[in-house]
Amino acid sequence: MHPLAWFAWLGTASLVTLLTRNPLYLVVLFVIFILVMDVERASQRAAADSSGYDSAPSDRGLPLSPLRFALFAVPAGAVFNLLTSHVGETVFFRLPAAIPLIGGALTAEALLYGAISGLVLVTLFTAFAVLNLALPVRDLIAYIPRAFYPVAIVSAIAVTFVPNTLRQFRQVREAQAIRGYKMHGWRDWLPLFLPVLVGGLERALQLAEAMTARGFGGGARTHLAPVARISLVAGLAGVLGAGVAQLTPTWASAAPAFLIAGALLMGAAIWHAGRGVQHTRYRRPVWHSMDTFVVVACGIAVVPFLIWAESRAYSPYPALAWPLFDLRLGGGLLGLMAPAFARRFSEQSDDHI
């Protein structure tokens, strides 16, 4: 799949997730993302297996599986909101109002709202996890503005460092066990951090040296031209000005103009700075009909959410109510399965070749 098709998918997935608080749609989204992820992972594993080398399971694994994250985030969100938000009609019991923050009515509505917030977070996390799994580092870097190229490389390395660091963490934990160290509580984990940190710094230095030896950083310009600097500062001022204008009744109407002007100036500065970065791309991704299919399917998923706003909305406040499930919206969400179909289809056509 073309990286831009993936970005379109991620954009749609995040937008839809953020547009609704209806737990039924959120659960559907979560399940769809998990399925897409599974198909992606299975096909990557099959590719690794067919390469004939017995490799360890995917090296770009996540530090946390979405399901495990859900087990933590949903209850945590629910409990936090239960204790801090005291709105709602279905009262479990009341804590003395004298207790700061948590004092007051503990309601079923607050509990549910917190759980939904946790679910939104988990669903977003899963969508990003899918992208992280599906796109190679080169594609993540390729679409970051050129001015940020060195930063992009560093972030890409940071992404690939996560599994390395986890592996190292495991190594140090094993090493500690070898030396008779038994872990009972969270305090016992503290002695593990120093070796991981020191080891991480050592590896970072080795990588930096290897990159220097291959000419990285040689052509990058570190100073912005004066015009670009002025434009960047003016742009920032414009964006801040928009914020201030919003607060003053006489200027409030001009706020959008400030915002747009500021954004344009900053964009221009970044574009100008990007011209100074000497860098070319080895690959030019090819747009297939499957990519069009994915983008169209994303449109099918998002458009109903934009049109029938009242069907997507849900709030447990003031009193608990059963959320509605509109088939036009729920059915449209299936469009987000498109990458899984695209992957299966391309595998089948590969088989025929």
Partner: protein, 592 residues
């Protein structure tokens, strides 16, 4: 021509110079091997060639360096990378991208090369190093040898005239190392590429090198020349050269092939030691375990402990039908192994054969799906790793992971505290243990500041302080120079005398020849063969040709079927064999 003219260099905040007035000329289009003890400045010397020293390292450099007519100090690595390609020791830490082709193009993209030019150059290096089948693979799925070939290809993408490699094979098994070195030899021969390579294991690289530079540890002058001349002047040399020196061969043989010319007229019939095994016997070895029946002598001259004697004491650690799987993929299948007191068992096998997994399974770091592990007659299932490790010292591949205290002595105290043992309870005391490991002068040193060999011994001290009955070592000679290796060998002899059971995982067949009483070969997660070193290393077990046994040390390849594995074996064998007359030097071959 590459010249160093009175080059001295000191790292920041280090009193002793890393290089001291080095004067040296390296000829273009040659394959130069740089050797010398740890800390002699090999790594620093290599990094001067592309300007990483002093540009990346900082520090003070004096003297004059020229690569052709270029000055790396003035130009820096950004410019020099187009003329000098650099490959590092650990293939893992030098990759930025996650796919082979992207990694090869990374440096070219940074140099803003046109897409057409990039395509042609990437295609060129893929062709040169025969990487076609790997082109679209993810780097994470490659073996160590393949990764190192990718690193070489990536360094060649700029079409440099010089390729510099810092211990590129130290992490590889013998077969992968040979693949990498053969590729380098081809590049040198076919393209006239200047190859400059630092390595401790001379015997690996010498067959490919036509120049040898020896950097001594002290401020002594650099020795430089054709390999046999240089080897004649230094002490730490490969076994075949040591034998050549002992027998007065001239010119000194550098490789086994050169050594063979002196042996052609020699008959080893009547020499002691097992004869080559017939196929039926080899099949028998593969089927069942054999005790060591070797009649050879250890270098110290003391006969090695046989298993017969150890049998009486009973094994300290036993694995029975052990099977381990990761993610449903079997890594070890039905492995049974016993370790006896006073016996050194060597575990050999290719990268990925399951050797490290076996060690981890023995101490319980990796759960086993089937089978059992017994420690001193007690099954270890349900025991914490920490409790197993009080009796079993396990040194992992990277000893750095074990070190985290402020001082070397503190490392030992931490282990004791973890096990709930007071210093007064242990015998010998921590200081005495450090003395036997040659670290007494380093008790207050910060462990991570030590040399590779010292760090390894500090890690060993940290796990040996509880006086364990069994020692498991995972590739302990990685990155060690000959001197550090000799110290390790002496330690293993001491452990044998102290009646400890030792399991040694290594790719270093010369070390196995010197140290082991018994050899186990692991292949594809199962035990492929088990027997005495003479049986498994002395003859081609896995086929009829010598090439079919990658585990033969130099002496076994020089005298196939004699049962001799070390220089000491050969010398004592030659002395005790009346039919042998001292061979006359016959480099032309075929006359004596």
């Amino acid at each position: 021509m590459i010249t160093f003219d009175h080059v001295s260099f000191s790292y920041p905040e280090v009193a002793l110079p890393a290089l001291h007035k080095v004067t040296l000329t390296l000829v273009e289009s040659t394959f130069t091997l740089i050797s010398g003890p740890s800390g002699a400045g090999k790594t620093t010397l290599l990094r001067c060639l592309n300007g990483l020293v002093p540009h990346f390292s900082g520090g003070v450099l004096t003297g004059r360096i020229r690569v052709g007519d270029l000055d790396p100090v003035a130009l820096g690595p950004e410019v020099m990378c187009r003329h000098v390609g650099f490959v590092f020791q650990d293939p893992e830490t030098q990759f930025v991208m996650d796919y082979v082709e992207d990694e090869l193009a990374f440096a070219l993209e940074n140099a803003a090369m046109s897409r057409a030019e990039m395509r042609s150059r990437v295609g060129e290096v893929i062709e040169l190093l025969d990487l076609g089948p790997l082109r679209h693979r993810s780097l994470a799925t490659l073996s160590g040898g393949e990764k190192q070939r990718i690193a070489i290809a990536a360094a060649l993408a700029f079409r440099p005239r010089v390729l510099v490699l810092d211990e590129p094979t130290s992490q590889l098994d013998p077969r992968s190392a040979r693949e990498v070195l053969e590729a380098l030899g081809r590049l040198n021969r076919d393209l006239g590429l200047t190859v400059i390579l630092a390595e401790h294991r001379l015997e690996r690289v010498l067959p490919f090198a036509d120049r040898l530079v020896y950097l001594p540890a002290a401020e002594a002058p650099v020795v430089d020349g054709v390999p046999d001349e240089v080897l004649g002047q230094i002490d730490l040399v490969p076994p075949v050269t040591t034998l050549g020196k002992a027998l007065g061969w001239s010119p000194l043989p550098v490789t086994v092939a050169e050594g063979r010319r002196f042996c052609e007229g020699m008959s080893v019939q009547g020499a002691e030691g097992p004869k080559p095994l017939p196929e039926s016997a080899r099949a028998e070895i593969r089927r069942k375990a054999l005790g060591p029946q070797r009649g050879s002598q250890s270098p110290a001259g003391a006969p090695r402990q046989g298993r017969g004697r150890s049998d009486e004491a009973g094994p300290t650690l036993v694995a029975e039908g052990l099977s381990v799987a990761y993610d449903g993929k079997p890594v070890l299948t039905d492995v049974s192994l016993s370790l006896y007191p006073g016996q050194v068992t060597a575990l050999l096998g290719r990268n990925g054969a399951g050797k490290s997994t076996l060690l981890k399974a023995l101490v319980g770091l990796v759960p086993h799906q089937d089978g059992s592990v017994w420690l001193s007659g007690r099954e270890t299932s349900g025991m914490a790793v920490a409790d197993v490790c009080r009796e079993v010292a396990y040194l992992p591949q990277d000893p750095n992971a074990l070190l985290f205290a402020e001082t070397v002595l503190e490392e030992l105290h931490i282990t004791l505290r973890n096990h709930g043992v007071t210093v007064a309870e242990v015998e010998p005391a921590p200081e005495a243990l450090l003395e036997t490991l040659g670290l007494l002068h380093k008790v207050t040193a910060y462990p991570r500041d030590l040399s590779v060999g010292e760090r390894q011994r500090a890690a060993l001290a940290a796990i040996l302080v509880t006086q364990p009955s069994t020692v498991l070592l995972d590739e302990p000679t990685r990155g060690l120079d000959y001197d550090a290796k000799d110290r390790l060998l002496a330690l293993m002899h001491r452990w044998r005398v102290e009646q400890r059971a030792v399991l040694l995982v290594t790719h270093d067949v010369e070390l196995v020849a010197e140290a082991a009483d018994r050899v186990v070969i692991l292949d594809g997660g199962g035990i492929a063969a088990e027997g005495s070193p003479a049986e498994l290393l002395g003859a081609p077990v896995f086929g009829d040709s010598e090439a079919a046994n990658p585990f033969m040390p130099q002496m076994a390849r020089l005298f196939p079927g004699s049962g001799w594995l070390t220089v000491a074996d050969v010398l004592s064998g030659l002395r005790s064999s009346p039919v042998l007359s001292p061979p006359s030097p016959n480099p032309g071959g075929g006359e004596s």
